[in-house]
Point group: none
Chain length 406, copies 2
């Protein structure tokens, strides 16, 4: 649904909606011919499917494998092809570093360079996060004219660089050559289709190259982390804000920084949800009266899928299934269960396959499904719909969308 | 998928994809309540459906009956509503007459006119192709100022006229009145919405009328082929080129000129595939290592459907089914079987009905289908998708599309 139409039809109501996102939920048949979800012992989900309706969601488009960013933006009702969150912004978001309007962020890698400055290991032997944290402290002390500078560790060799100042531009090239045997590249301003190279891009590239030169000297004695590369230049993404758009109070109940950050980018309040499903459910219960919409994120399905561990992904689904009664006990008016993309254990990676979708609530047109699995969902009553239509559909079921036309 | 996104995500890989197009594959139930495909004894296709996934493709749009051009452009991943190949260009393509940037083509019909110049037979009694070839030679000798002129026979009374010169315009009317009892029309320039009648259109109409006047005198003694009509004015279509767009080597294995021509228009190499399925399969095997993507075209399903011959269409499906093991023996990573449109024998014509679709390969989410037929496909796991998404989906399964977003 287009934002203009949402603005016109969104209506407050005394209803509660819970969107459960099992990350990377969709799978492929394993050795016994059934997917992780089909093989899992998940009686709660099967019962919800039986009493509700199922279908499939397409996160970005047919054949397109989504990253976590686009997958979630779609579930938040946005068209991920129209709203892109650059890598630098996503990484910053992932460590709860909120970007301001003057900020320019990049994803950084520590790397190992030889005596001639050529990269010999693009990940610096995957140094410990503590080493990167220590180095980040050192690099944060670099001074650049007219710019505040922040370096923060992410994990292992990864870090985020944020420059804050007037007139910074993301229209510069990456310094990461994406291969070994060559030196990191200089940042160059990217010409604009209309104006050619703009002064702000030229100045930003110069600032970045100044930072890199000083950083190189500071890193020299720190082999294997004696070099760095920067990519994914991005300013703060301007995304539609869910609470204003839908006229409701929205909260995220997520444990991983990336998903907390994505929720924050669309205006949700991010609850203190601890580290486990128990603390997540406690947060949900504690804040139940304060919000109309809850985004409940479950990460472990995706991690297991990415690791190619079919059984662990199955177990992650079962763990979430066991937690469901505590969600249902709160009596949400509408409950949606889906994923942000598929992560089949057999592929050990995100994939383009449609994602199982389930909706449960009073006004759901109950279909013929007898369980929650890819096979049932492919023939489910909800059909196969773009993921960005899931939220409008849920809010419709919650009486939060007025009639269109007389 | 939009070309800009394809350019961004397309990734080379060491995988082979075969797109089998059974022309006019889709059908309607015959006397025994089952379609041509359902009634055919096609164990290979049924087995592929069982081990893979099925669905339906919509060539142009719901309710739209496609010609061969739009049907194939969609299967080549293009939106046939955005990319139109004019009739003249399609006919030229069909006889392997490659249009250049200065060319203007029309489809011509020889016709019979009476003493007053009025059409009495729009097809000149369907004169033999040899007669038309002879006449084409005579008409090619007509001289026009500043324009090179080519006339080539197609089949029976049909021919192609190509004018080559600077400043020719397709914005002129057709001379075919589409009825008997009236004389062929003069070509008139079509006004442009912005500029009115442009000089190039006026000049082109004048040139065409000059050609027609001289042709009339040359044809006078050749009754029944003593007149001609011209329609479908078209310049060379500018279509995205598959190999550059998808970063792969693409080849067409087709016996009919029209399909060879359509493949050439999107940049495929057209292999010497002989005249039969045996020579087609031999060509496929001979060139297997040289290409990443093969378009294998099977014409006889459509011809039988157009003739309203249910049994012959069934047999054409069975003949293709028997050939499939030789395709499978090459071990393609992804195999797609579909059609460019439906041609139900009960209608003896192309139709708007969705087209059966089958995809087979390692990462296919196997669905519950037990055979390849319209009924199974309507409920298949791939759903009902636009035909232009079939190629991106195939390439996704072949590991040729990178992840979108981080």
């Amino acid at each position: 649904m287009e934002p203009d139409l949402i603005r016109r039809l969104a209506t407050p109501a005394a209803t509660k909606v819970v969107l459960c996102v099992m990350d990377g939920l969709g799978g492929l048949p394993g050795p016994r011919g059934r997917t992780e979800l089909e093989e899992a012992d998940s009686p709660q989900l099967d019962r919800l499917a039986e009493l509700g309706a199922v279908g499939q969601s397409i996160p970005v488009g047919i054949g397109i494998t989504p990253g976590s960013g686009p997958g979630h933006l779609a579930l938040f009702g946005l068209d991920p092809l129209r709203h892109e969150v650059g890598r630098g912004a996503l990484e910053a978001t992932g460590i709860e570093l909120e970007l301001g309007p003057l900020d320019l962020a990049a994803r950084g890698n520590l790397c190992t360079v030889d005596g001639d400055g050529r990269i010999v290991d693009r990940r610096a032997g995957r140094v410990a996060t503590e080493v990167t944290a220590d180095i980040a402290g050192v690099l944060s002390a670099v001074e650049l004219p007219g710019v505040e500078l922040t370096v923060r560790p992410v994990r292992e060799h990864r870090f985020v660089l944020v420059l804050r100042g007037e007139g910074l531009s993301a229209a510069i090239t990456e310094t990461d050559p994406q291969q070994v045997g060559v030196a990191p590249l200089a940042a160059e301003p990217l010409p604009d289709a209309v104006d050619g190279v703009r002064p702000d891009a030229a100045r930003t590239a110069e600032l970045v190259n100044g930072f890199v030169a000083r950083a190189r000297r500071l890193l020299e004695p720190r082999e294997p982390a004696n070099g760095l590369t920067l990519r994914g230049w991005a300013t703060r993404p301007e995304l539609p804000q869910l609470p204003a758009l839908w006229r409701l109070r929205a909260a995220a109940v997520a444990t991983y920084p990336m998903y907390r950050g994505l929720a924050r980018l669309v205006g949700m309040d991010v609850l203190d949800a601890g580290e486990t499903i128990d603390t997540q459910l406690a947060a949900l219960g504690r804040h139940w009266e304060q919000y109309d919409f809850f985004f409940l994120h479950w990460k472990h399905t995706d991690s297991a899928g990415e690791d190619g561990d079919f059984t662990r992904k199955m177990r992650a689904i079962e763990a979430f299934d066991r937690a469901l009664p505590r969600v249902l006990a709160l009596e949400p008016d509408v409950l949606v269960v889906t994923g942000d993309h598929s992560t089949p254990a057999t592929m050990a990676a995100h994939s383009w396959h449609p994602v199982p979708l389930l909706i449960s609530g009073r006004h759901v047109r109950v279909d013929h499904s007898h369980g929650f699995g890819e096979g049932e969902c492919a023939r489910g009553g909800l059909g196969t719909i773009p993921a960005r239509e899931v939220l409008p559909l849920a809010f419709a079921h919650a009486g939060r969308l007025a009639k269109y036309g007389a």
